[in-house]
Symmetry: C2
Subunit: 387 residues, 2 copies
């Protein structure tokens, strides 16, 4: 049965370009070679950019071929690696492919004793791996990998069609791997940047919170509770959320009390009751928070949480006295999470309520202080022991 | 002169996969078609993911062919777009290609009046664009674009070899564009995340700074000065910096006084001289800053700037009394920037020094308070009016 290599290659390329996982790409390629061309075994030495060495990543085909111990990672001084990294050696080869029999002839013809020595070592390694053919792939001048092929099942030599198929395939793979690596690197960088952003915000929010000696750990607990309510909401009702929803809730919860930085310490830490003037000052904290974060336009939704987390469903909250569904969802969620933590935490002048009592109060305040729909969701998370 | 299309295609693919700019990819493809196959003109309708419509992105070849006004953006109800988005229509075509003459025959054979009507409109559009052949490209089932070809210069029809070349090329381009878009989207996301991080840090640092009524705008000015010194240093001496250097300097400058959040307002805002106890409390701010940021391990270098920005070159600074080159570079830079701003800013109880006087003092303190090498760099930025 003859194979249309051009077609196979096109099909392979298309499949590969959709895959953004280097390991999977290599497995695909090796499987294809073993199946289509019927090779006893096939493996690939792949460049590891982090450690600048080459790893025998996957090997497929006939079971039982063992990779000699200690040979799974090859340094830059490994003969095979050295031979193919030295681009001037390309001129010694037909189509950049190193075939065992030809290489053997070559060693007898070469005058340069150093190169002769290197080639002998390469042949020794090919013996070790039972490799008849090495096919390097380059990205620009960088050696990305070497494909190591065993024998054909029939014992015949590879013909020109098969060799060009391997070359094209391995070139395709090298470039796709390069793309996949780039995409992976960008994704990692993005994850790191996100966690840097969250962690810095957390640290600064905690530092600001520390000014208020009554509220140790409050921000972090409110964030946990609000996230649980939000996840449950998203699970039940996709319509009301967007893909930034959980991220926004997290940031808004971390920042909900940021405006306390603008309230004098003497008021924040006052023992005993606050007078109306002091109470007014404390109630300014949502608007102070808004003023701090206003310039950051990516935080538009977050700002709604900071601004309105002290609004009440019945319209008796602050700063604007918004009512019912005029209160943004993000603020309604933080409001429940915030109150639950305030009730259940100890304060220097009183012990926190028992969990059950706080839950009862939240139920009673459904439709008064709190949005009934959010209370419902909150109670479900409580029932599932998530809060 | 006959062309080896397979070779051309391989060359094109290799070139394209290295390009991560969708516009450039399309220009490359169109140039190749016009040059190699000698087509009168050639354009491509490309999917715009943001607006979910199709744009006639580039058109090459014979000059003088005008795109009719109002036809450069095509909505989803455009006949060409509708025809190719409806994947069941593929079965009507040979190799998914729509050739004008064949489509004309087809309209006479089709019974379905709706489809007949659509195809007539498609033909009308092909007339309008002087298009003989339409070649769609898909990513999975999504229509990425349509390649619109004019006549061959010779007037002859495209043969099978040429058509398969176009199909493969346009498929390659579609997939490469998809990759390029993905990479571009990730890069944009990364930029957005970085600016969100910087802006949030700035906003919070400014809010914390506002607690100290003597230092309005200080953080932002110190950041500007430190960045100028760092850029000059990087320009003169690559060896001492790494690629994160400017980013680290920016964050460290923004955060250098973050520890003031832990100093009581009564001390920060005290009028008149501080007593030794109060001075000691103020001098704790670098270590308070370190405690706040310590958990964020990505900020390791930044932390050195926060911790040691009050060290002196002669070893008489705080918190550790580090001396000379034991003081991290990032801290030595912030130290100069910080002092320069402190000297040149007005305070409620005194006017700031003139710029020249502050510069003189920094010169005098070279080797005492400040690292002489950094003073040298600072003076260069001053000479170039960058500070």
């Amino acid at each position: 049965m003859s194979i249309d290599y051009k077609k196979e290659l096109e099909k392979a390329s298309k499949r590969m370009i959709l895959v953004h996982d280097p390991d999977l790409l290599i497995r695909l390629m090796i499987r294809m070679i073993v199946q289509k061309v019927r090779v006893t075994h096939c493996s690939i030495l792949l460049h590891d950019r982090v450690q600048d060495s080459y790893i025998l990543t996957v090997s497929g085909g006939r079971t039982g071929l063992k990779v000699p111990e200690g040979f799974t990672r090859m340094d830059l001084d490994n003969p095979l690696v050295r031979f193919f990294r030295e681009t001037k050696n390309k001129s010694l080869l037909n189509n950049e492919v190193l075939v065992y029999e030809e290489a053997k002839k070559l060693t007898n013809l070469i005058a340069d004793s150093e190169l002769k020595d290197l080639l002998s070592k390469v042949l020794y390694q090919m013996d070790l791996f039972e490799t008849t053919t090495c096919i390097p792939s380059y990205f620009r001048d960088e050696l990305m990998g070497i494909l190591l092929l065993g024998n054909k099942n029939t014992g015949a030599k590879f013909d020109m069609d098969e060799l060009s198929f391997f070359i094209a395939l391995s070139q395709d793979v090298a470039m796709n791997i390069r793309n996949a690596q780039l995409i992976q690197e960008l994704k990692n960088e993005l994850d790191n940047k996100q966690s840097l952003f969250i962690n810095t915000t957390k640290a600064m929010a905690a530092a600001i919170e520390a000014k208020d000696r009554y509220t140790h750990g409050h921000t972090s607990r409110v964030t946990t509770y609000a996230l649980e309510i939000a996840k449950k909401l998203e699970q039940k009702n996709k319509k009301v959320t967007d893909k930034k929803f959980l991220g926004d809730i997290q940031i808004a919860s971390l920042l909900h009390d940021i405006g306390k930085i603008g309230v004098p310490e003497s008021i924040l830490n006052k023992e005993g009751l606050l007078d109306p003037e002091e109470r007014k000052k404390i109630n300014e904290h949502p608007m102070i928070g808004v003023n701090i974060l206003q310039p950051i336009h990516e935080l538009e939704t977050v700002l709604m949480g900071v601004k309105y987390h002290h609004e009440r469903f019945d319209g008796n909250g602050y700063p604007e006295g918004l009512k019912g569904d005029k209160i943004p969802l993000i603020a309604a969620i933080i409001s429940v999470a915030d109150s639950f933590d305030a009730m259940t935490s100890d304060r220097p002048y009183r012990k926190g309520f028992a969990r059950e009592k706080a839950i009862d109060i939240i139920k009673q305040e459904s439709g008064k202080q709190f949005d009934p729909y959010i209370v419902e969701i909150f109670l479900e998370t409580v029932a599932e022991n998530k809060i």
